[in-house]
């Protein structure tokens, strides 16, 4: 086969992917940049207004509130669930797997993986029932049992609700990575520690945790970026309310563009917001890259993801 024909075949194999990526990824990417300099609305007319969207961003008092919501939501979910709780499940299930075999351990891990593969709206239905403000819901049904008055959970503790609901999904990511890292630790280390008289907690502290340091850092960094741009479950459960209390940055941009009842279609401002979010993400990754010294991990991989 001549070189030219070879290149042609390669092009043929790549063409569909290139076409799709070009139309639905690259072109929209460039359009986003362009749109952020217009005051486009639902009529989709190109009316360039210079940097005024970006200027408006710095004057937007709601955005400063949204910013702190985002910080609270991202790091709250990350620290409580994606890292800590994910690690706890991984430790517990690896303990169970070691003593009682793979089956009970797999059961728990599959159970925690299930929310990730549940259609988001169905997941929303489940939580809407658990948190229902009347006695028909789970929590209030239990309160009723004890003769307590029902609580409207979602409107009284909106931030806690979105952290919890996202955390239950987010925990499985850390769980899977930590579990595979923990089970791949060679057993001799643990035996040696046990012979020296270290109990389970000591073995975790002095053997397991240092050995899964990279997965821990990786999950922290990667999930920060994922959480920054995830708003689907918030949209379903609170819609960002009450009064912007659970509006995070990505949801704010979404609502500005396609926002529920008032359908604002402020495409120009919304695209500027999303680009602002991209900048925040880039800053976050650079910080993580520096602080966690990921370059070291690049040269010497400690765990294989897929």
């Amino acid at each position: 086969m001549t070189k030219k024909r070879g290149h042609f075949m390669i092009f043929l194999l790549l063409a569909p992917a290139l076409l799709i990526t070009l139309t639905f990824y690259l072109v929209p990417g460039i359009l986003t940049g362009a749109m952020s300099f217009t005051n486009m609305d639902h009529r989709l007319t190109w009316n360039f207004v210079g940097f005024s969207n970006y200027v408006a961003m710095f004057k937007d008092t709601i955005l400063s509130r949204v910013f702190w919501n985002t910080i609270l939501y991202v790091f709250g979910t990350l620290l409580l669930f994606n890292v800590t709780f994910g690690l706890l499940i991984a430790l517990a299930t690896s303990y169970i797997a070691e003593r009682h075999g793979e089956k009970p351990s797999l059961f728990f891990r599959a159970l925690w993986l299930l929310p990730r593969f549940t259609p988001p709206i169905v997941y929303g239905v489940i939580w809407l029932w658990i948190l229902d403000p009347t006695r028909n819901g789970l929590l209030n049904g239990v309160l009723n049992w004890f003769g307590q008055k029902p609580v409207s959970w979602i409107s009284e503790f909106p931030m806690a609700v979105i952290v919890l609901t996202n955390g239950v999904i987010g925990a499985s990511f850390g769980m899977i990575l930590f579990y595979s890292a923990i089970t791949s630790i060679s057993r001799e280390y643990n035996w040696a520690a046990a012979v020296d008289g270290a109990g389970w907690l000591h073995r975790i502290r002095y053997v397991t945790l240092p050995l899964i340091r990279w997965p821990l850092l990786f999950v922290t960094a990667y999930q920060t970026l994922s959480l920054l741009t995830s708003y689907e479950y918030i949209l379903i459960l609170t819609g960002g309310g009450p009064f912007y209390k659970t509006t995070v940055w990505s949801l704010y941009a979404y609502n500005e563009a396609f926002g529920g009842y008032y359908a604002s279609y402020r495409f120009g401002y919304a695209t500027a917001l999303t680009l602002g979010l991209v900048i925040v993400s880039i800053i976050a990754s650079v910080i993580y890259w520096r602080v966690f010294r990921f370059r070291e991990m690049m040269s010497e991989p400690k765990i294989e993801v897929i």
């Binding site: 194999l13 569909p16 992917a17 799709i20 990526t21 139309t23 639905f24 990824y25 929209p28 990417g29 359009l31 986003t32 749109m35 989709l44 499940i89 517990a92 303990y95 169970i96 797999l106 891990r109 599959a110 159970l111 925690w112 993986l113 929310p115 990730r116 549940t118 259609p119 709206i121 169905v122 239905v125 489940i126 029932w129 658990i130 006695r135 028909n136 789970l138 049904g141 239990v142 009723n144 955390g167 239950v168 999904i169 990511f173 899977i176 020296d196 008289g197 994922s226 959480l227 741009t229 995830s230 689907e232 990505s250 979404y254 495409f267 695209t271 999303t274 680009l275 979010l277 897929i306």
Partner: protein
């Protein structure tokens, strides 16, 4: 490392102490096991109750104290043969749409991602490094950034309110991830296997189809399952890009049921949600091991 607690060698107490120590260790171990199981069971309780409720509540008239079912009924499933209200589209048409979206996603991911991943993984050509970098960069570009301009693109292409539009957009956004995962599977096939095919006189295309593809079958299966569930469950793009009821998927359907019946008819709400999740549950039970492998390469945020 903590210091040795019991210096057995210098202990003069003898066997009695040893037995005592062993018993104590066993007790400690039992306590720890008890503690760990309690933790797992208690923390999993909301999940079990949540999914359990979805099933129980769909088949019952009324739940007492929120959790205790009373009486068996199938009337909650009446939406299968009659419209919940006259504003709803036909359920089976909606289900068919959902299925088409899932199938379309799967087809695109397999037919487009697989050859691309093979080329990137195995062939030498000028822009290889560039493409590889591009795949990674695109993968880290969040979907929300593109949502608005995608709306523009779809409207320009006259694909708004159509399933084709949604699944092209979804496929486009998932493609880099798919290519990246499939590339990993191709990387795992030993060169010798492919080389031996070439030596025996097969062309590159023949070796790909007859020798390499069978080797990455598990990868393709995992991708297919993953994309199917992903397309079946899609919420945000469907809600944003599809308004006309003829093109609704089950996501829009359940979304609407929440809006119209949340506090009035939980039976209907849970039954429609159960109807929607049932195929996923079946898939999930048989394939969770595959799914665990694909999850870590990063799907949705949270």
């Amino acid at each position: 490392m903590p210091k040795l607690k019991y210096d057995l060698a210098s202990s003069h107490a003898g066997t009695a102490t040893l037995v005592h120590l062993a018993k104590r260790e066993a007790r400690k171990e039992k306590l720890l096991t008890f503690f760990i199981y309690s933790f797992m069971i208690l923390s999993s309780l909301p999940l079990v109750l949540g999914y359990g409720w979805l099933i129980l509540n769909s088949f019952t008239d009324k739940m007492v104290y929120g959790v205790v079912p009373q009486g068996f009924t199938i009337k909650n499933f009446r939406f299968l043969w009659e419209l919940p209200s006259r504003y709803y589209p036909d359920l089976w048409r909606t289900t068919w749409n959902t299925f088409l979206l899932a199938l379309g996603m799967t087809a695109i991911m397999i037919l487009v991602a697989t050859p691309t991943a093979y080329v990137i993984s195995r062939m030498k050509f000028p822009a290889r490094g560039f493409l590889l970098a591009m795949t990674l960069i695109l993968h880290s570009f969040p979907g929300v950034t593109l949502l608005i301009s995608l709306y523009y693109v779809l409207r320009t292409l006259n694909l708004l309110n159509s399933l084709v539009g949604v699944f092209l957009v979804k496929a486009g956004l998932m493609l880099p991830l798919g290519i990246w995962i499939m590339k990993g599977f191709f990387d795992g096939v030993p060169w010798d296997v492919e080389m031996s095919g070439l030596v025996d006189g097969a062309t590159r295309m023949q070796t790909l189809i007859k020798i390499v593809l069978p080797q990455v079958k598990p990868g393709i299966a995992a991708m297919a399952i993953f994309s199917f569930i992903n397309g079946w469950s899609e919420y945000i793009y469907v809600i944003t890009f599809i308004q006309t009821k003829e093109s609704w998927t089950l996501s829009s359907y359940v979304n609407s049921i929440i809006g119209d019946f949340q506090f009035i008819d939980y039976g209907l709400l849970s039954a429609t949600a159960l109807f929607y999740i049932a195929p996923v549950l079946l898939f999930f039970i048989f394939t969770q091991k595959y799914l665990m492998a694909v999850t870590v390469s990063g799907s949705k945020g949270g």
